[in-house]
Protein backbone atom coordinates (compact mmCIF):
# COMPACT_ATOMS: atom_id res chain seq x y z
CA UNK A 1 0.00 0.00 0.00
CA UNK A 2 2.88 2.33 0.86
CA UNK A 3 4.30 1.79 -2.56
CA UNK A 4 0.99 2.59 -4.19
CA UNK A 5 0.71 5.94 -2.41
CA UNK A 6 4.35 6.77 -3.04
CA UNK A 7 4.25 6.12 -6.75
CA UNK A 8 0.75 6.93 -7.90
CA UNK A 9 -1.64 9.85 -8.01
CA UNK A 10 -5.38 9.87 -8.63
CA UNK A 11 -5.88 6.65 -6.75
CA UNK A 12 -9.22 5.03 -7.34
CA UNK A 13 -10.47 2.96 -4.42
CA UNK A 14 -13.76 1.18 -5.01
CA UNK A 15 -15.96 -0.05 -2.19
CA UNK A 16 -18.13 -3.08 -2.58
CA UNK A 17 -20.39 -4.91 -0.17
CA UNK A 18 -19.26 -8.52 0.19
CA UNK A 19 -21.92 -11.01 -0.89
CA UNK A 20 -23.80 -8.49 -3.00
CA UNK A 21 -25.74 -8.64 -5.26
CA UNK A 22 -25.28 -12.43 -5.07
CA UNK A 23 -23.33 -14.30 -2.43
CA UNK A 24 -20.70 -15.49 -4.90
CA UNK A 25 -20.31 -12.22 -6.83
CA UNK A 26 -17.57 -10.79 -4.60
CA UNK A 27 -14.65 -12.58 -6.27
CA UNK A 28 -15.88 -11.84 -9.81
CA UNK A 29 -16.40 -8.17 -9.04
CA UNK A 30 -13.04 -7.63 -7.39
CA UNK A 31 -11.19 -9.41 -10.20
CA UNK A 32 -12.98 -7.25 -12.76
CA UNK A 33 -12.23 -4.08 -10.80
CA UNK A 34 -8.57 -4.97 -10.63
CA UNK A 35 -8.24 -5.88 -14.29
CA UNK A 36 -9.85 -2.57 -15.24
CA UNK A 37 -7.26 -0.52 -13.44
CA UNK A 38 -8.76 0.16 -10.03
CA UNK A 39 -5.93 0.83 -7.58
CA UNK A 40 -7.40 -0.38 -4.34
CA UNK A 41 -10.36 -2.32 -3.03
CA UNK A 42 -12.44 -1.73 0.07
CA UNK A 43 -14.51 -4.77 0.96
CA UNK A 44 -17.49 -4.02 3.16
CA UNK A 45 -18.47 -6.51 5.85
CA UNK A 46 -22.28 -6.31 5.82
CA UNK A 47 -23.68 -5.26 9.21
CA UNK A 48 -27.26 -5.13 10.42
CA UNK A 49 -26.90 -1.64 11.89
CA UNK A 50 -24.35 0.33 9.85
CA UNK A 51 -24.54 3.77 11.49
CA UNK A 52 -22.12 5.52 9.19
CA UNK A 53 -23.77 4.31 6.02
CA UNK A 54 -26.65 5.65 4.01
CA UNK A 55 -29.58 3.71 2.58
CA UNK A 56 -27.77 2.31 -0.49
CA UNK A 57 -25.05 0.53 1.44
CA UNK A 58 -27.44 -0.46 4.21
CA UNK A 59 -29.80 -2.05 1.70
CA UNK A 60 -26.97 -3.88 -0.03
CA UNK A 61 -25.86 -5.11 3.41
CA UNK A 62 -29.31 -6.44 4.21
CA UNK A 63 -29.39 -8.27 0.87
CA UNK A 64 -25.92 -9.71 1.48
CA UNK A 65 -26.81 -10.88 4.99
CA UNK A 66 -29.92 -12.55 3.61
CA UNK A 67 -27.73 -14.12 0.92
CA UNK A 68 -25.85 -15.78 3.76
CA UNK A 69 -22.64 -13.76 3.90
CA UNK A 70 -20.48 -14.30 6.99
CA UNK A 71 -17.07 -13.04 8.04
CA UNK A 72 -15.63 -16.52 7.47
CA UNK A 73 -17.08 -16.53 3.97
CA UNK A 74 -15.58 -13.12 3.27
CA UNK A 75 -12.17 -14.38 4.33
CA UNK A 76 -12.57 -17.34 1.97
CA UNK A 77 -13.51 -15.00 -0.85
CA UNK A 78 -10.52 -12.77 -0.20
CA UNK A 79 -8.21 -15.79 -0.17
CA UNK A 80 -9.59 -16.71 -3.58
CA UNK A 81 -9.22 -13.15 -4.84
CA UNK A 82 -5.61 -13.11 -3.71
CA UNK A 83 -4.72 -15.96 -6.06
CA UNK A 84 -4.65 -13.41 -8.89
CA UNK A 85 -5.27 -9.92 -7.53
CA UNK A 86 -2.28 -8.01 -6.17
CA UNK A 87 -3.64 -4.52 -5.40
CA UNK A 88 -4.24 -3.47 -1.77
CA UNK A 89 -7.41 -4.71 -0.10
CA UNK A 90 -8.85 -3.15 3.04
CA UNK A 91 -11.84 -4.43 4.96
CA UNK A 92 -14.48 -2.01 6.17
CA UNK A 93 -16.83 -3.03 8.95
CA UNK A 94 -18.14 -2.25 12.40
CA UNK A 95 -16.41 -2.96 15.65
CA UNK A 96 -19.11 -5.29 16.96
CA UNK A 97 -18.44 -7.69 14.10
CA UNK A 98 -14.76 -7.76 14.93
CA UNK A 99 -15.47 -8.29 18.64
CA UNK A 100 -17.84 -11.18 18.04
CA UNK A 101 -15.35 -12.93 15.77
CA UNK A 102 -12.69 -12.31 18.40
CA UNK A 103 -10.47 -9.35 17.59
CA UNK A 104 -7.13 -11.16 17.77
CA UNK A 105 -8.32 -14.04 15.65
CA UNK A 106 -9.97 -11.64 13.23
CA UNK A 107 -6.82 -9.66 12.53
CA UNK A 108 -4.68 -12.78 12.32
CA UNK A 109 -7.01 -14.46 9.87
CA UNK A 110 -7.21 -11.31 7.78
CA UNK A 111 -3.42 -11.28 7.54
CA UNK A 112 -3.35 -14.90 6.46
CA UNK A 113 -5.82 -14.41 3.60
CA UNK A 114 -4.01 -11.34 2.31
CA UNK A 115 -5.86 -8.31 3.67
CA UNK A 116 -3.74 -5.16 3.98
CA UNK A 117 -5.73 -3.01 6.35
CA UNK A 118 -8.99 -1.96 7.96
CA UNK A 119 -11.51 0.80 8.28
CA UNK A 120 -13.65 0.43 11.39
CA UNK A 121 -15.53 3.70 11.73
CA UNK A 122 -16.91 3.15 15.23
CA UNK A 123 -13.61 2.04 16.77
CA UNK A 124 -12.53 4.83 19.15
CA UNK A 125 -8.91 5.99 18.94
CA UNK A 126 -8.25 5.22 22.57
CA UNK A 127 -9.58 1.67 22.36
CA UNK A 128 -7.50 1.10 19.24
CA UNK A 129 -4.40 2.29 21.07
CA UNK A 130 -5.07 0.23 24.15
CA UNK A 131 -6.18 -2.98 22.51
CA UNK A 132 -5.20 -3.34 18.88
CA UNK A 133 -2.42 -1.05 17.75
CA UNK A 134 0.38 -3.36 18.81
CA UNK A 135 -1.04 -6.43 17.11
CA UNK A 136 -1.62 -4.58 13.86
CA UNK A 137 1.91 -3.24 13.91
CA UNK A 138 3.26 -6.73 14.42
CA UNK A 139 1.14 -8.08 11.59
CA UNK A 140 2.00 -5.10 9.37
CA UNK A 141 -1.67 -4.29 8.82
CA UNK A 142 -2.98 -0.75 8.47
CA UNK A 143 -5.77 1.03 10.33
CA UNK A 144 -7.46 3.96 8.66
CA UNK A 145 -9.41 6.49 10.68
CA UNK A 146 -11.89 9.01 9.36
CA UNK A 147 -11.77 12.79 9.47
CA UNK A 148 -14.70 15.08 8.75
CA UNK A 149 -15.27 18.79 8.11
CA UNK A 150 -15.85 19.16 11.85
CA UNK A 151 -12.63 17.50 12.95
CA UNK A 152 -10.35 20.14 14.41
CA UNK A 153 -6.79 20.55 13.16
CA UNK A 154 -5.45 19.30 16.47
CA UNK A 155 -7.56 16.19 16.29
CA UNK A 156 -6.67 15.61 12.64
CA UNK A 157 -3.03 15.56 13.68
CA UNK A 158 -3.78 13.10 16.45
CA UNK A 159 -5.70 10.88 14.02
CA UNK A 160 -2.92 11.15 11.46
CA UNK A 161 -0.39 10.04 14.05
CA UNK A 162 -2.43 6.92 14.86
CA UNK A 163 -3.48 6.03 11.32
CA UNK A 164 -1.42 3.91 9.01
CA UNK A 165 -1.99 3.33 5.33
CA UNK A 166 -4.15 6.34 4.56
CA UNK A 167 -6.63 8.77 6.05
CA UNK A 168 -10.25 8.64 5.03
CA UNK A 169 -11.40 12.19 4.38
CA UNK A 170 -15.17 12.31 4.72
CA UNK A 171 -16.25 14.94 2.24
CA UNK A 172 -19.27 16.42 3.97
CA UNK A 173 -21.78 16.21 6.79
CA UNK A 174 -23.38 13.03 5.65
CA UNK A 175 -23.57 9.30 5.72
CA UNK A 176 -22.32 7.43 2.68
CA UNK A 177 -24.16 7.83 -0.57
CA UNK A 178 -25.44 11.38 -0.28
CA UNK A 179 -25.09 13.02 -3.62
CA UNK A 180 -24.15 16.49 -4.57
CA UNK A 181 -21.44 18.34 -6.41
CA UNK A 182 -18.49 19.25 -4.23
CA UNK A 183 -19.20 22.70 -2.93
CA UNK A 184 -16.94 25.62 -2.21
CA UNK A 185 -16.88 24.97 1.54
CA UNK A 186 -15.83 21.38 0.94
CA UNK A 187 -13.00 22.56 -1.27
CA UNK A 188 -11.87 24.88 1.55
CA UNK A 189 -11.86 21.93 3.91
CA UNK A 190 -9.80 19.84 1.48
CA UNK A 191 -7.34 22.71 1.19
CA UNK A 192 -7.14 22.98 4.96
CA UNK A 193 -6.21 19.29 5.19
CA UNK A 194 -3.70 19.57 2.41
CA UNK A 195 -2.03 22.45 4.23
CA UNK A 196 -1.60 20.35 7.38
CA UNK A 197 1.12 18.34 5.70
CA UNK A 198 0.05 15.00 7.13
CA UNK A 199 2.18 11.91 7.26
CA UNK A 200 -0.52 9.72 5.73
CA UNK A 201 -1.89 9.74 2.22
CA UNK A 202 -5.48 10.95 2.00
CA UNK A 203 -8.43 9.51 0.14
CA UNK A 204 -11.64 11.48 -0.09
CA UNK A 205 -14.87 9.56 0.28
CA UNK A 206 -18.65 9.96 0.71
CA UNK A 207 -20.46 11.58 -2.18
CA UNK A 208 -17.85 10.74 -4.81
CA UNK A 209 -20.12 9.35 -7.50
CA UNK A 210 -18.82 10.09 -10.99
CA UNK A 211 -15.88 11.28 -13.06
CA UNK A 212 -16.40 14.94 -12.22
CA UNK A 213 -16.43 14.47 -8.44
CA UNK A 214 -13.60 11.95 -8.65
CA UNK A 215 -11.41 14.37 -10.60
CA UNK A 216 -12.12 17.25 -8.21
CA UNK A 217 -11.30 15.04 -5.22
CA UNK A 218 -8.03 13.97 -6.83
CA UNK A 219 -6.94 17.57 -7.12
CA UNK A 220 -6.90 17.82 -3.33
CA UNK A 221 -5.94 14.34 -2.19
CA UNK A 222 -4.09 11.22 -3.26
CA UNK A 223 -7.31 9.86 -4.62
CA UNK A 224 -10.88 9.02 -3.77
CA UNK A 225 -13.19 6.25 -2.68
CA UNK A 226 -16.37 5.43 -4.53
CA UNK A 227 -18.93 3.25 -2.80
CA UNK A 228 -22.65 3.90 -3.03
CA UNK A 229 -22.55 4.94 -6.68
CA UNK A 230 -20.97 1.61 -7.55
CA UNK A 231 -23.42 -0.35 -5.40
CA UNK A 232 -26.27 1.49 -7.14
CA UNK A 233 -24.85 0.49 -10.51
CA UNK A 234 -24.91 -3.15 -9.38
CA UNK A 235 -28.48 -2.93 -8.12
CA UNK A 236 -30.31 -4.10 -11.21
CA UNK A 237 -27.61 -5.70 -13.25
CA UNK A 238 -27.71 -9.21 -14.61
CA UNK A 239 -24.08 -9.07 -15.71
CA UNK A 240 -21.90 -7.93 -12.82
CA UNK A 241 -18.65 -8.18 -14.83
CA UNK A 242 -19.91 -6.01 -17.64
CA UNK A 243 -21.47 -3.47 -15.26
CA UNK A 244 -18.31 -3.32 -13.16
CA UNK A 245 -16.04 -2.80 -16.17
CA UNK A 246 -18.33 -0.11 -17.58
CA UNK A 247 -18.51 1.67 -14.23
CA UNK A 248 -14.72 1.87 -13.88
CA UNK A 249 -14.31 3.05 -17.46
CA UNK A 250 -16.82 5.81 -16.75
CA UNK A 251 -14.66 7.10 -13.91
CA UNK A 252 -11.28 6.64 -15.57
CA UNK A 253 -12.36 7.87 -19.01
Amino acid sequence: MKQLFNTKKNILNIYLTAGYPKLEDTVKIVKTLASNGVDMIEIGMPFSDPLADGPTIQNSSTVAINNGITIRKIFEQIAQIRQTVKIPIVMMGYYNQVLQYGANAFFERAKVVGVNGFIIPDLPLQIFQEKHQKQLEQLDLTMTFLITPQTSDARIKQIDALSTGFLYVVSSFATTGSKSALKQEQIKYFERIKALDLKNATLIGFGISNKATFDTACAYANGAIIGSAFIKALENTNDVKETTARFVKGIRA
Binding site: D49, T62, Y101, I147, A174
Partner: protein
Protein backbone atom coordinates in the same frame (compact mmCIF):
# COMPACT_ATOMS: atom_id res chain seq x y z
CA UNK B 1 -19.68 5.76 43.24
CA UNK B 2 -19.21 2.14 42.20
CA UNK B 3 -22.22 2.32 39.95
CA UNK B 4 -21.75 5.73 38.37
CA UNK B 5 -20.19 6.35 34.97
CA UNK B 6 -16.53 7.37 34.98
CA UNK B 7 -15.37 10.37 32.95
CA UNK B 8 -15.30 8.33 29.74
CA UNK B 9 -18.79 7.05 30.36
CA UNK B 10 -17.85 3.56 31.47
CA UNK B 11 -19.82 1.64 34.06
CA UNK B 12 -17.28 -1.05 34.84
CA UNK B 13 -16.48 -2.37 31.41
CA UNK B 14 -19.71 -1.14 29.82
CA UNK B 15 -20.60 2.14 28.15
CA UNK B 16 -18.20 4.49 26.39
CA UNK B 17 -18.75 6.13 23.03
CA UNK B 18 -18.21 3.80 20.07
CA UNK B 19 -19.15 6.27 17.40
CA UNK B 20 -17.97 7.14 13.92
CA UNK B 21 -15.91 10.31 13.59
CA UNK B 22 -18.91 12.03 11.99
CA UNK B 23 -20.56 12.03 15.41
CA UNK B 24 -17.47 12.91 17.38
CA UNK B 25 -17.99 16.65 17.40
CA UNK B 26 -21.68 16.48 18.34
CA UNK B 27 -21.08 14.06 21.15
CA UNK B 28 -18.01 15.93 22.39
CA UNK B 29 -19.97 19.18 22.44
CA UNK B 30 -22.62 17.54 24.55
CA UNK B 31 -20.11 15.85 26.82
CA UNK B 32 -18.27 19.08 27.47
CA UNK B 33 -21.43 21.01 28.29
CA UNK B 34 -24.01 18.81 29.90
CA UNK B 35 -22.80 18.79 33.50
CA UNK B 36 -22.06 22.50 33.65
CA UNK B 37 -25.44 23.33 32.18
CA UNK B 38 -27.51 20.94 34.26
CA UNK B 39 -25.78 21.93 37.46
CA UNK B 40 -26.30 25.63 36.81
CA UNK B 41 -28.78 27.46 38.97
CA UNK B 42 -30.84 28.83 36.09
CA UNK B 43 -31.25 25.33 34.65
CA UNK B 44 -32.20 23.82 37.98
CA UNK B 45 -34.73 26.58 38.67
CA UNK B 46 -36.44 26.15 35.32
CA UNK B 47 -36.26 22.34 35.45
CA UNK B 48 -37.80 22.14 38.91
CA UNK B 49 -40.50 24.63 38.04
CA UNK B 50 -41.54 22.70 34.94
CA UNK B 51 -41.46 19.35 36.74
CA UNK B 52 -43.71 20.75 39.44
CA UNK B 53 -46.14 22.91 37.51
CA UNK B 54 -46.14 21.35 34.06
CA UNK B 55 -45.41 17.66 34.61
CA UNK B 56 -47.23 17.49 37.95
CA UNK B 57 -44.40 16.32 40.22
CA UNK B 58 -43.87 15.05 42.79
CA UNK B 59 -45.77 11.98 41.72
CA UNK B 60 -47.46 10.18 44.62
CA UNK B 61 -45.97 7.22 46.40
CA UNK B 62 -49.11 5.23 46.93
CA UNK B 63 -49.48 2.49 49.51
CA UNK B 64 -51.38 -0.15 47.56
CA UNK B 65 -53.27 -1.86 50.39
CA UNK B 66 -55.18 -4.50 48.51
CA UNK B 67 -52.15 -5.44 46.44
CA UNK B 68 -50.13 -5.58 49.68
CA UNK B 69 -52.68 -7.90 51.24
CA UNK B 70 -52.61 -10.16 48.25
CA UNK B 71 -48.83 -10.51 48.29
CA UNK B 72 -48.42 -10.29 52.05
CA UNK B 73 -45.95 -7.41 51.99
CA UNK B 74 -46.06 -3.63 52.17
CA UNK B 75 -46.21 -2.53 48.57
CA UNK B 76 -45.93 1.04 47.34
CA UNK B 77 -46.47 2.21 43.81
CA UNK B 78 -44.40 5.12 42.52
CA UNK B 79 -47.00 6.77 40.33
CA UNK B 80 -45.05 7.86 37.24
CA UNK B 81 -48.24 7.09 35.34
CA UNK B 82 -49.66 10.34 36.69
CA UNK B 83 -47.08 12.48 34.93
CA UNK B 84 -48.18 14.69 32.07
CA UNK B 85 -48.28 12.56 28.88
CA UNK B 86 -48.65 9.42 30.97
CA UNK B 87 -45.20 8.07 31.70
CA UNK B 88 -41.79 8.78 33.19
CA UNK B 89 -40.45 9.67 29.74
CA UNK B 90 -41.23 13.35 30.18
CA UNK B 91 -38.78 13.76 33.10
CA UNK B 92 -36.03 13.20 30.58
CA UNK B 93 -37.46 15.22 27.69
CA UNK B 94 -37.95 18.28 29.91
CA UNK B 95 -34.34 18.03 31.02
CA UNK B 96 -32.92 17.54 27.56
CA UNK B 97 -35.02 20.24 25.91
CA UNK B 98 -33.77 22.79 28.42
CA UNK B 99 -30.25 21.64 27.66
CA UNK B 100 -30.81 21.82 23.90
CA UNK B 101 -32.14 25.35 24.22
CA UNK B 102 -29.13 26.46 26.23
CA UNK B 103 -26.85 24.93 23.60
CA UNK B 104 -28.58 27.04 20.97
CA UNK B 105 -30.05 24.13 19.03
CA UNK B 106 -32.99 24.80 16.72
CA UNK B 107 -34.11 21.41 15.56
CA UNK B 108 -34.93 18.39 17.72
CA UNK B 109 -34.83 14.81 16.52
CA UNK B 110 -35.82 11.71 18.46
CA UNK B 111 -36.48 8.01 18.02
CA UNK B 112 -39.51 6.26 19.39
CA UNK B 113 -40.83 2.73 19.62
CA UNK B 114 -44.23 2.72 21.27
CA UNK B 115 -44.49 6.43 20.74
CA UNK B 116 -44.30 7.40 24.42
CA UNK B 117 -40.92 9.05 24.10
CA UNK B 118 -42.00 10.56 20.78
CA UNK B 119 -45.05 12.09 22.42
CA UNK B 120 -43.01 13.37 25.36
CA UNK B 121 -40.53 14.92 22.91
CA UNK B 122 -43.21 16.45 20.70
CA UNK B 123 -44.80 17.87 23.85
CA UNK B 124 -41.71 19.70 25.07
CA UNK B 125 -40.97 20.91 21.53
CA UNK B 126 -44.43 22.44 21.35
CA UNK B 127 -43.82 24.00 24.75
CA UNK B 128 -40.48 25.46 23.69
CA UNK B 129 -41.47 26.25 20.12
CA UNK B 130 -38.79 24.06 18.55
CA UNK B 131 -38.98 22.07 15.33
CA UNK B 132 -39.50 18.37 16.06
CA UNK B 133 -38.86 15.32 13.92
CA UNK B 134 -39.52 11.86 15.33
CA UNK B 135 -38.21 8.71 13.65
CA UNK B 136 -40.43 5.70 14.13
CA UNK B 137 -40.24 2.27 12.55
CA UNK B 138 -42.77 1.75 9.81
CA UNK B 139 -44.12 -1.27 11.66
CA UNK B 140 -44.49 0.65 14.93
CA UNK B 141 -46.29 3.48 13.15
CA UNK B 142 -48.90 0.99 12.08
CA UNK B 143 -49.33 -0.57 15.53
CA UNK B 144 -49.24 2.64 17.63
CA UNK B 145 -51.65 4.84 15.70
CA UNK B 146 -52.99 6.90 18.66
CA UNK B 147 -49.50 8.07 19.65
CA UNK B 148 -48.69 8.93 16.03
CA UNK B 149 -51.82 11.09 15.99
CA UNK B 150 -50.79 12.77 19.25
CA UNK B 151 -47.31 13.60 17.93
CA UNK B 152 -48.80 15.08 14.77
CA UNK B 153 -51.34 17.13 16.71
CA UNK B 154 -48.44 18.44 18.79
CA UNK B 155 -46.79 19.65 15.60
CA UNK B 156 -44.10 17.02 15.16
CA UNK B 157 -43.23 15.32 11.92
CA UNK B 158 -43.24 11.54 12.25
CA UNK B 159 -40.88 10.03 9.73
CA UNK B 160 -41.02 6.30 9.08
CA UNK B 161 -37.80 4.31 9.44
CA UNK B 162 -37.88 2.04 6.42
CA UNK B 163 -34.57 0.27 6.87
CA UNK B 164 -33.73 -3.05 8.54
CA UNK B 165 -36.49 -4.46 10.69
CA UNK B 166 -38.44 -1.16 10.69
CA UNK B 167 -38.83 -0.95 14.48
CA UNK B 168 -37.16 0.92 17.37
CA UNK B 169 -33.59 -0.07 16.66
CA UNK B 170 -33.90 1.15 13.09
CA UNK B 171 -35.63 4.36 14.16
CA UNK B 172 -32.59 4.93 16.39
CA UNK B 173 -30.24 4.28 13.46
CA UNK B 174 -32.15 6.78 11.34
CA UNK B 175 -32.07 9.42 14.06
CA UNK B 176 -28.31 8.96 14.42
CA UNK B 177 -27.87 9.28 10.64
CA UNK B 178 -29.95 12.44 10.65
CA UNK B 179 -27.68 13.84 13.35
CA UNK B 180 -24.61 12.96 11.29
CA UNK B 181 -26.07 14.88 8.36
CA UNK B 182 -27.15 17.88 10.47
CA UNK B 183 -24.48 18.35 13.10
CA UNK B 184 -24.72 22.07 13.71
CA UNK B 185 -28.28 23.05 14.55
CA UNK B 186 -29.75 19.68 15.51
CA UNK B 187 -30.07 18.14 18.95
CA UNK B 188 -30.66 14.40 19.27
CA UNK B 189 -32.98 13.79 22.18
CA UNK B 190 -32.52 10.12 23.15
CA UNK B 191 -35.33 8.45 25.05
CA UNK B 192 -33.55 6.04 27.36
CA UNK B 193 -30.27 5.36 29.16
CA UNK B 194 -28.73 4.08 25.93
CA UNK B 195 -26.47 5.43 23.21
CA UNK B 196 -22.96 6.87 23.47
CA UNK B 197 -21.67 8.64 26.57
CA UNK B 198 -22.89 11.08 27.89
CA UNK B 199 -26.47 10.01 27.11
CA UNK B 200 -26.79 7.10 29.57
CA UNK B 201 -25.47 9.21 32.42
CA UNK B 202 -27.45 12.30 31.45
CA UNK B 203 -30.77 10.49 31.05
CA UNK B 204 -30.21 8.67 34.36
CA UNK B 205 -29.62 12.01 36.08
CA UNK B 206 -32.90 13.40 34.73
CA UNK B 207 -34.81 10.29 35.74
CA UNK B 208 -33.14 10.24 39.16
CA UNK B 209 -35.92 12.52 40.40
CA UNK B 210 -37.98 9.31 40.77
CA UNK B 211 -35.79 7.83 43.52
CA UNK B 212 -35.07 11.23 45.03
CA UNK B 213 -38.78 11.70 45.70
CA UNK B 214 -39.13 8.08 46.71
CA UNK B 215 -36.63 8.56 49.52
CA UNK B 216 -38.41 11.59 50.92
CA UNK B 217 -41.82 9.99 50.58
CA UNK B 218 -40.79 6.71 52.20
CA UNK B 219 -39.21 8.62 55.05
CA UNK B 220 -42.41 10.60 55.55
CA UNK B 221 -44.70 7.59 55.27
CA UNK B 222 -42.73 4.85 56.99
CA UNK B 223 -39.95 6.64 58.83
CA UNK B 224 -37.34 4.80 56.77
CA UNK B 225 -36.11 6.06 53.42
CA UNK B 226 -34.77 2.62 52.45
CA UNK B 227 -37.20 0.02 51.13
CA UNK B 228 -36.24 -3.65 50.99
CA UNK B 229 -36.87 -4.00 47.29
CA UNK B 230 -37.42 -1.77 44.27
CA UNK B 231 -38.92 -3.27 41.14
CA UNK B 232 -38.88 -1.65 37.71
CA UNK B 233 -39.23 -2.81 34.12
CA UNK B 234 -36.34 -2.47 31.70
CA UNK B 235 -36.56 -1.66 28.02
CA UNK B 236 -33.53 0.55 27.52
CA UNK B 237 -33.65 1.05 31.26
CA UNK B 238 -34.48 4.70 31.97
CA UNK B 239 -37.33 4.29 34.43
CA UNK B 240 -35.36 1.60 36.27
CA UNK B 241 -32.25 3.81 36.30
CA UNK B 242 -34.33 6.61 37.81
CA UNK B 243 -35.96 4.36 40.39
CA UNK B 244 -32.62 2.81 41.41
CA UNK B 245 -30.40 5.89 41.16
CA UNK B 246 -30.27 7.13 44.75
CA UNK B 247 -30.16 3.57 46.07
CA UNK B 248 -27.32 2.25 43.92
CA UNK B 249 -24.83 2.35 46.77
CA UNK B 250 -27.35 1.22 49.39
CA UNK B 251 -26.50 -2.43 48.97
CA UNK B 252 -29.24 -3.57 51.37
CA UNK B 253 -31.89 -2.38 48.96
CA UNK B 254 -32.55 -5.10 46.38
CA UNK B 255 -32.79 -3.65 42.89
CA UNK B 256 -35.00 -5.82 40.73
CA UNK B 257 -35.06 -5.21 36.99
CA UNK B 258 -37.73 -6.93 34.94
CA UNK B 259 -37.24 -7.58 31.25
CA UNK B 260 -39.82 -8.72 28.72
CA UNK B 261 -39.62 -12.46 28.14
CA UNK B 262 -42.10 -12.13 25.27
CA UNK B 263 -43.42 -15.58 24.47
CA UNK B 264 -40.70 -17.06 26.71
CA UNK B 265 -36.90 -16.74 26.93
CA UNK B 266 -36.37 -20.00 25.11
CA UNK B 267 -38.78 -19.38 22.26
CA UNK B 268 -36.66 -16.95 20.24
CA UNK B 269 -39.52 -14.48 20.60
CA UNK B 270 -38.19 -12.45 23.50
CA UNK B 271 -36.68 -9.13 24.53
CA UNK B 272 -34.89 -10.47 27.62
CA UNK B 273 -31.49 -9.06 26.71
CA UNK B 274 -29.56 -10.11 29.82
CA UNK B 275 -30.84 -13.68 29.45
CA UNK B 276 -30.25 -14.29 25.76
CA UNK B 277 -27.81 -11.51 24.89
CA UNK B 278 -24.07 -11.12 25.00
CA UNK B 279 -21.53 -8.32 25.22
CA UNK B 280 -21.09 -6.11 22.22
CA UNK B 281 -21.81 -2.69 20.81
CA UNK B 282 -25.17 -1.21 19.97
CA UNK B 283 -25.91 2.42 19.17
CA UNK B 284 -22.49 3.55 20.26
CA UNK B 285 -22.43 1.81 23.63
CA UNK B 286 -20.65 -1.30 24.84
CA UNK B 287 -23.29 -3.27 26.64
CA UNK B 288 -25.37 -6.43 26.54
CA UNK B 289 -27.36 -6.93 23.38
CA UNK B 290 -29.17 -9.57 21.39
CA UNK B 291 -27.07 -10.72 18.48
CA UNK B 292 -26.03 -13.76 16.51
CA UNK B 293 -22.47 -15.07 16.47
CA UNK B 294 -21.69 -12.90 13.44
CA UNK B 295 -22.41 -9.82 15.53
CA UNK B 296 -25.59 -9.03 13.61
CA UNK B 297 -28.11 -7.48 15.96
CA UNK B 298 -31.26 -9.55 16.18
CA UNK B 299 -34.84 -8.47 16.46
CA UNK B 300 -36.46 -8.63 19.89
CA UNK B 301 -40.09 -9.44 20.54
CA UNK B 302 -42.46 -8.30 23.26
CA UNK B 303 -46.15 -7.51 23.39
CA UNK B 304 -45.02 -4.22 24.89
CA UNK B 305 -43.52 -1.92 22.27
CA UNK B 306 -41.66 0.04 24.97
CA UNK B 307 -39.66 -3.04 26.03
CA UNK B 308 -39.00 -4.21 22.48
CA UNK B 309 -35.34 -3.12 22.32
CA UNK B 310 -32.42 -5.54 21.64
CA UNK B 311 -30.11 -3.97 24.22
CA UNK B 312 -30.04 -2.54 27.74
CA UNK B 313 -28.23 0.58 28.86
CA UNK B 314 -24.63 0.13 30.07
CA UNK B 315 -25.58 0.86 33.70
CA UNK B 316 -27.88 -2.16 33.63
CA UNK B 317 -25.26 -4.35 31.96
CA UNK B 318 -22.99 -3.39 34.84
CA UNK B 319 -25.68 -4.02 37.49
CA UNK B 320 -26.30 -7.41 35.89
CA UNK B 321 -22.69 -8.47 35.60
CA UNK B 322 -21.66 -7.18 39.03
CA UNK B 323 -24.65 -8.86 40.64
CA UNK B 324 -25.87 -5.56 42.14
CA UNK B 325 -29.12 -5.92 40.22
CA UNK B 326 -31.43 -8.93 40.09
CA UNK B 327 -32.75 -9.47 36.59
CA UNK B 328 -36.09 -11.21 36.18
CA UNK B 329 -38.41 -11.59 33.25
CA UNK B 330 -42.14 -11.62 32.64
CA UNK B 331 -43.85 -13.08 29.60
CA UNK B 332 -46.59 -11.38 27.61
CA UNK B 333 -49.22 -13.40 29.41
CA UNK B 334 -47.79 -12.79 32.86
CA UNK B 335 -47.75 -9.06 32.16
CA UNK B 336 -51.33 -9.12 30.91
CA UNK B 337 -52.46 -10.97 34.03
CA UNK B 338 -50.61 -8.51 36.26
CA UNK B 339 -52.24 -5.57 34.48
CA UNK B 340 -55.64 -7.12 34.99
CA UNK B 341 -54.89 -7.80 38.64
CA UNK B 342 -53.74 -4.27 39.46
CA UNK B 343 -56.72 -2.80 37.68
CA UNK B 344 -59.18 -4.85 39.73
CA UNK B 345 -57.37 -4.53 43.06
CA UNK B 346 -56.43 -0.87 42.96
CA UNK B 347 -58.39 0.74 40.14
CA UNK B 348 -55.22 1.61 38.25
CA UNK B 349 -54.72 0.53 34.64
CA UNK B 350 -50.94 0.27 34.13
CA UNK B 351 -48.97 0.52 30.92
CA UNK B 352 -48.00 -2.87 29.52
CA UNK B 353 -44.36 -2.06 30.25
CA UNK B 354 -45.10 -1.36 33.92
CA UNK B 355 -47.22 -4.51 34.07
CA UNK B 356 -44.01 -6.48 33.57
CA UNK B 357 -42.64 -4.97 36.78
CA UNK B 358 -45.86 -5.88 38.61
CA UNK B 359 -45.68 -9.43 37.31
CA UNK B 360 -42.39 -9.87 39.17
CA UNK B 361 -44.29 -9.77 42.50
CA UNK B 362 -45.21 -13.39 41.85
CA UNK B 363 -41.58 -14.35 41.27
CA UNK B 364 -39.90 -13.10 44.40
CA UNK B 365 -40.18 -14.24 47.98
CA UNK B 366 -41.79 -11.61 50.15
CA UNK B 367 -42.11 -11.25 53.90
CA UNK B 368 -44.97 -9.54 55.65
CA UNK B 369 -42.80 -6.81 57.10
CA UNK B 370 -41.01 -6.05 53.85
CA UNK B 371 -41.36 -2.76 52.04
CA UNK B 372 -41.44 -3.02 48.27
CA UNK B 373 -41.69 -0.17 45.78
CA UNK B 374 -42.91 -0.94 42.27
CA UNK B 375 -42.14 1.81 39.78
CA UNK B 376 -45.36 2.26 37.86
CA UNK B 377 -43.67 3.82 34.84
CA UNK B 378 -46.76 4.61 32.81
CA UNK B 379 -50.50 4.40 32.41
CA UNK B 380 -52.38 1.98 30.23
CA UNK B 381 -54.38 4.30 27.99
CA UNK B 382 -52.08 3.65 25.03
CA UNK B 383 -52.50 -0.10 25.51
CA UNK B 384 -56.28 -0.29 25.64
CA UNK B 385 -56.56 -1.90 22.24
CA UNK B 386 -54.21 -4.69 23.29
CA UNK B 387 -56.01 -5.11 26.60
CA UNK B 388 -59.43 -5.23 24.95
CA UNK B 389 -58.20 -7.71 22.43
CA UNK B 390 -56.24 -9.95 24.79
CA UNK B 391 -58.18 -9.84 28.03
CA UNK B 392 -61.59 -10.53 26.52
CA UNK B 393 -60.52 -13.48 24.45
Amino acid sequence: MKYQANKDGFYGEFGGAFIPEMLYHNVAELKENYLTIINSESFQTEFKDLLKNYVGRPTPLYHAKRLSEKYNATIYLKREDLNHTGAHKINNTIGQILLAKRMGKKRIIAETGAGQHGVATATVCALMDLECLVYMGEIDIARQAPNVARMKMLGAEVRPALSGSRTLKDATNEAIRDWISNPVDTYYLIGSVVGPHPYPDMVARFQAIISKEMKQQLKAQTGNEYPDKIIACVGGGSNAAGAFYHYLDAENVALIAVEADGLGVDTGETAATTQVGSEGIIHGSKTLLMQNNEGQITEPYSISAGLDYPGVGPLHAHLFKSGRGTFLGATDNEALAAAQELTRLEGIIPALESAHALAALKKITLQANETVVVNLSGRGDKDMETYMHKLNS
